[in-house]
Symmetry: C2
Subunit: 349 residues, 2 copies
Amino acid sequence: MEPVLLEQNKKKSLHPSLLTEIARKRAFLKGTIDPFRCVAKELELVERNLARSIRCAEQVLTDISAHLILGGGKRVRPMVTLLAFKVVGGKKTEDIVDIATAIELIHTATLLHDDILDGADCRRGKESDYKKFGLKATLVAGDFLFIKAFEFAGKFDATVVQWTADACTRLTEGEILQGFFNRKLEVTLEDYLEIVRRKTASLFQTGAKVGAYLAGAGPSFVEEMGRYGSNLGIAFQIIDDVLDVVGHKELLGKPVGMDLRDGNPSLPIILAIREGQRAVAEAFQSDSLTEEMIRTAVDAIGRGPAIAKAKTFSRSYAEMAFKPVQKLPPSPYRNGLKTLVQLIVERDF
Amino acid sequence: MEPVLLEQNKKKSLHPSLLTEIARKRAFLKGTIDPFRCVAKELELVERNLARSIRCAEQVLTDISAHLILGGGKRVRPMVTLLAFKVVGGKKTEDIVDIATAIELIHTATLLHDDILDGADCRRGKESDYKKFGLKATLVAGDFLFIKAFEFAGKFDATVVQWTADACTRLTEGEILQGFFNRKLEVTLEDYLEIVRRKTASLFQTGAKVGAYLAGAGPSFVEEMGRYGSNLGIAFQIIDDVLDVVGHKELLGKPVGMDLRDGNPSLPIILAIREGQRAVAEAFQSDSLTEEMIRTAVDAIGRGPAIAKAKTFSRSYAEMAFKPVQKLPPSPYRNGLKTLVQLIVERDF
């Protein structure tokens, strides 16, 4: 069976529309200093690892995984991991590629399970796996990707295993905390940041720490790179939240207003509620939402100051992310880490 | 927060009704040669690992995990792992306890996700986590337990990591294959055995292999112990299937007829359909089952020869399991492995 699966995966990874989509999404990274180009070789190895890892005896598990993994992810987490490794002068490419693969697999596994939790219809511009393949197969495919991540991460020393496991534990805790504040008006900014630290920033943080650690950096620089990752992750999530209000459906690959629809406390929603936007508060806490209510609330957030405020928040985390990087001697990788921060806060998808 | 959580877990693990339940369930293992007693110390360490591993910042994840893990599992998989280690003369207790813990955590994670897949109301004599805590928290708690398993298994060498990951992959493949044959009359005995090999036997097999391997056994004996585990796992699953028809609700901790209810192709169902039992065939493929249809079909299986045939199957796998053990020099552990096989095919829960 293996050669057949390989052939199919190859075809999938070369499918013109997918390539176009990935190229379009990655075009944002082609600035004057391109953080993607200086780790392009390693990112390509991550892609190969990902395509190889999803092969298994049950075609549907491969199909579900391929649908999401080969469907145009931005690969920001592997990029952070690779740049943090290279910036310290890391040489042993195979190791860093394997842990970067594990981190992307963990992220993808959580996306599959998230789509079940949110009942999501769309993801990355396509029908979600959950909608296309149903709850049962999607749940099992999420487990399958967690297991594949374990296969890649389990070969490292106790420190890397522990950091990776801790990041995953924090992801699940963040998921629970977010569920706790679902449609709850009393959610505060501090609650929001705690959710984001656990649910989004922890994996960025671990990727950056592991990258520096495997390159041989000392404990204090490893921690500094961890702060880079964590602050970058928070900035990234805030922009995700902003785009959910003011983004374009075609670029996002999903309709706007999903956070309101799902009752997830996003930063613009929290800020708009604090501003006294009644339409937003009503929509956020309603469990019988209409399309009209969502449209009205999304418009209200967009017209008020919440979006500008959220962008300011994002930029301040981006600045904090950049601090440890500034201390480093100039190199394409240092510039890569810097540009990545800028592009993440300026992106429109 | 930690001391509070510890306190609560301690209280839970000492709850009299739970202890009674565990004691009642473990009483079956108190034969003339007690496979439980000769690894009692190590099993106690597994229990402590399990109780410690489920502590986390989100109480609901701890609660869901405790509800299932501290709620009277038979610990057959850790027992196989520990006995396979001890029988070869393994000494480094901490290592084997950690991998036995990982294997039980993987098993428990799949139980949580299985209950979602089956929409199960009961598990181990209590309301299922899925029923009690809902889909979202139960799904995340399953991920949490997979992650904890990874924490325990990830510290081992590449061989152990690979075997453990392979067993998990086969679990997910088995889950998909079982789903494929859900309510499908064309399911064959060979399909059944393939499902069971992947979904149940693979974890028993890996436990036994890892046990022998970590004790320093050579490759051929490691493979033989793997066959012990695999055949024991198949015998175990067949008895599970039999008890789903002729077991007692109180001993099982769930109603009989669950396989028919869920449309899962169990061995007695497949055999009864082959015998031409029309009530069974109708109930198995119906997606609008009534309680009356289930009762009639369960009675029909019980009256026909399917149960006796299934027990014969189970005994033949038990005999195959015992073959590699017979070659070993006499020891309490060899007797433990032997008695475990006998008790598993003779159990009534």
